[in-house]
């Protein structure tokens, strides 16, 4: 398959290139950037030296492709969606433009009128674990936000099994610096960003909107930047509508994830890595999930999940989705084990 990556000079675009360049069934025919137009891709993504001699083309030089991946800042893909759709059968959008189904909600969270409301229903939510069947038949897929995805993986089984209580679910997310993209600004300047534990969004983060679309509960997402380049870990503090046993939690998570190639349940009694942790996931497409029940009440638990924001939180998930769409083995090109120590 021939694919094009639009917005290929950014972090998500670069990660996608890394995955696509070693994917056996894919040929990357174009990668766009206006900033670096004409430069070798490896000048921007130095890890790709030796893997491609392609140069960046401009954002408007879109070739006919089987698939177009959109890795643009939010609000841009929607302006060009008509023309993209004339160039490719499949469009996989990694921005937030087609994630929110309700235009009023879109307006509320993005403070901007959606330009293409008729396109919204054409997009399927790119969450293989819960929308695999729709994805199989889709042409247009919207990949969820990284923190939304990590949170949904933690909460969806509980939501679906109707065990969540009505109290506000508090999701305390910790995130690395690659999540804010490749454009230098004061907040990601090394000397400022280094060693931070910076709560930068106490509530109202836009990924909350995506959560609320799937989880019919009061959900709050609190986001703190920590010293990390790649990686997100969330601890979701939930309550249950009845007393629950640890065994039941095991079986709920097993039910949804036992056959999932990229979900591992991590709840160990030995070793240092007893709950999900992002660093050993760098470069992998895993979402690791663990939980800790309050044995005294049976009514409270902490659900922990961890991902690499650039992989399962974006590019890797997009490749997984393409594998599904194309009918290939879902893990194709996504079999990196992860490093330890790191």
């Amino acid at each position: 398959m021939k694919v094009s990556v639009i917005g290929a000079s950014g972090y998500i675009g670069g990660e996608l290139l890394r995955l696509l360049l070693q994917h056996p069934n894919i040929e990357v025919i174009a990668a766009t950037s206006n900033q670096y137009k004409g430069d070798y891709i490896f000048n921007v993504h130095p890890n790709l030296r030796g893997y491609t001699s392609l140069k960046f083309s401009g954002h408007d030089e879109i070739l006919s492709s089987d698939v177009i991946f959109l890795c643009l800042p939010h609000g841009i893909a929607m302006s060009h969606i008509d023309s993209y759709s004339q160039k490719a059968k499949y469009i996989i959008d990694l921005s937030s433009d087609f994630r929110i189904k309700d235009i009023n909600q879109y307006y509320k969270w993005y403070k901007k009128k959606h330009e293409q409301p008729t396109w919204l229903p054409k997009f399927v939510s790119g969450i293989p674990e819960f929308y695999r069947e729709s994805i199989e038949k889709a042409n247009y897929i919207a990949i969820p936000g990284c923190m939304a995805n990590a949170s949904l993986m933690a909460l969806m089984p509980l939501e679906k099994e109707n065990v969540l209580g009505n109290h506000r679910i508090i999701i305390d997310a910790k995130t690395g610096s690659s999540g804010s993209g490749a454009t230098p600004n004061l907040s990601n300047l090394h000397a400022q960003r280094s060693g931070t534990v910076r709560l930068f969004k106490s509530m109202g983060h836009r990924h909350e909107a995506e959560l609320k679309q799937e989880i019919n509960k009061d959900v709050q997402l609190t986001v703190t930047s920590v010293e990390l380049v790649r990686g997100i870990q969330i601890s979701a503090h939930v309550t249950f509508n009845r007393e629950i046993q640890e065994k039941e939690l095991w079986s709920i998570y097993r039910k949804y994830y036992n056959d999932e190639p990229f979900i591992r349940i991590i709840k160990q009694k030995k070793g240092l890595y007893r709950y999900p942790e992002p660093k050993i996931l760098s470069g992998t497409n895993y979402c690791d999930i663990g939980f800790s029940l309050d044995q005294e009440t049976g009514k409270h638990a902490v659900i922990i999940s961890a991902i690499d924001n650039l992989v399962k939180g974006g590019a890797g998930n997009a490749v997984q989705v393409l594998n599904i769409v194309a009918g290939w083995d879902e893990t194709l090109g996504l079999n990196f084990i992860g490093l330890h120590p790191i």
């Binding site: 999540g179 907040s187 910076r198 930068f200 983060h205 986001v223």
Partner: protein, 53 residues
């Protein structure tokens, strides 16, 4: 004079004029001087910036 946002004590300079904007040291809210005798302050309209993300 107290900040309408955070209630901190604000010392407004004597030569302050109407429509001038002063900033609360405690919470950095920008405050518009609505009148000077007596001094009345109101939170100036603000555009929320995207910060840290």
């Amino acid at each position: 004079m107290n900040c309408p946002e955070c209630d901190a004590l604000i010392v407004v300079a004597e030569d302050t004029r109407v429509n001038e904007v002063v900033e609360c040291e405690s919470c950095q809210t920008e405050l518009e001087v609505l009148s000077t005798q007596p001094i009345i302050l109101a939170v100036a309209p603000e555009i929320e910036e995207d910060w840290g993300e």
